[in-house]
């Protein structure tokens, strides 16, 4: 029996499998508020951020170079993608998709796009408060 998610969208989107009463929500907010105090939160100023980014950029560049030098290279077709031997077909497909680069995913999406009808795509909306 197939379950049509689209038919039950309102229910699936708005109902939660867990409960958060108003009282619990207020208590949670209070607990978090007590932790977010000027003493606990040391603000990062823009100048410090810039210096940190430069140091971090240097570190990342060094690590990237090390990574390129020591790790094995995979072919672009993905035929050498290593998956865990115990993974089933579906898991292997998941791993394969996750290992694709942006260009490869764009190409696949081009194939998928022809299958998607207007009704299956949500309307792009502005978030209103």
């Amino acid at each position: 029996m197939s379950y049509n998610i689209e038919d039950h969208e309102n229910y699936l989107k708005n109902e939660l499998p867990y409960n958060l009463s108003e009282e619990k929500w207020q208590q949670l907010q209070q607990r978090i508020k007590e932790k977010v105090t000027p003493e606990n939160v040391v603000p990062i100023r823009k100048e410090k951020l810039n210096f940190r980014y430069k140091a971090l950029a240097g570190l990342v560049a060094g690590m990237a170079l090390l990574f390129i030098l020591v790790t094995p290279r995979y072919s672009k077709t993905g035929t050498d993608i290593k998956t865990s031997p115990s993974a089933n077909a579906e898991q292997q497909l998941d791993q394969a998709i996750n290992s694709l680069n942006e260009d490869e995913l764009d190409w696949i999406h081009g194939l998928n796009e022809n299958e998607l009808s207007e009704q299956e795509e949500y309307i792009e909306n502005q978030v209103q408060l």
Partner: protein, 183 residues
């Protein structure tokens, strides 16, 4: 516009020590519940969600003075919340025993914490989402529940719109198939 005024108020209040409390209240009132539910759907556990939300808020207040307004405030908040959720997943991977992946463990927590005895279909639906690969799980949550645009999700996850659409499409079909098998 009212939206921009509130964001500006939040940033101004949260950027000054003397108005931190008011800033917190306004931020929580405007975005708190939405952020909490987003985090809760990803990490499932009640205490875990509170911890991740707390870390999110601490980082928000830590970095808000450096916020450049090159994205909307809620996009920035979602980015921080997403990062904290991913950090949570990494930490859990180090301590998980007996579970092959995070998704299995999260599904276990979902059923363990289901004190209100939610309907089976609802539990199965959320279980299917939790068992998606990490990237698909994130995209699906932001698109399906929070109805964020692909452009916004692209900013949050640093992925291209095309790859997000592919991930979402694949996730959606996978969930439908799984529910069909379960029912």
């Amino acid at each position: 516009m009212a939206t921009i005024d509130i964001d500006e108020q939040i940033i101004n209040l949260c950027s000054q020590d003397e108005s931190l409390g008011k800033g917190f209240d306004l931020l929580m009132k405007t975005y708190g519940k939405r952020l909490y539910l987003y985090i809760r759907r990803l990490v499932v556990g009640e205490q875990d969600a509170e911890d991740v939300l707390q870390e999110t808020f601490i980082n928000v207040f830590r970095f808000i003075r450096a916020f450049k307004n090159d994205s909307k405030l809620y996009t920035w908040l979602y980015t921080i919340a997403t990062r904290e959720c991913l950090k949570f997943y990494k930490q859990k991977k180090l301590v998980l025993k007996g579970f092959d992946e995070n998704g299995q463990w999260l599904a276990h927590v979902l059923y363990a914490e289901n004190s209100m005895k939610a309907e089976t279909i609802l539990l199965k639906f959320h279980e299917a989402i939790l068992k998606l690969p990490e990237k698909q799980r994130l995209v699906f949550n932001m698109r399906y529940f929070d109805e964020l645009s692909y452009e916004t999700i692209s900013t949050i996850t640093n992925s291209s719109v095309s790859s997000l659409k592919t991930n979402y499409h694949y996730a959606f079909e996978k969930i439908k198939t799984q529910l069909s098998h379960e029912l």
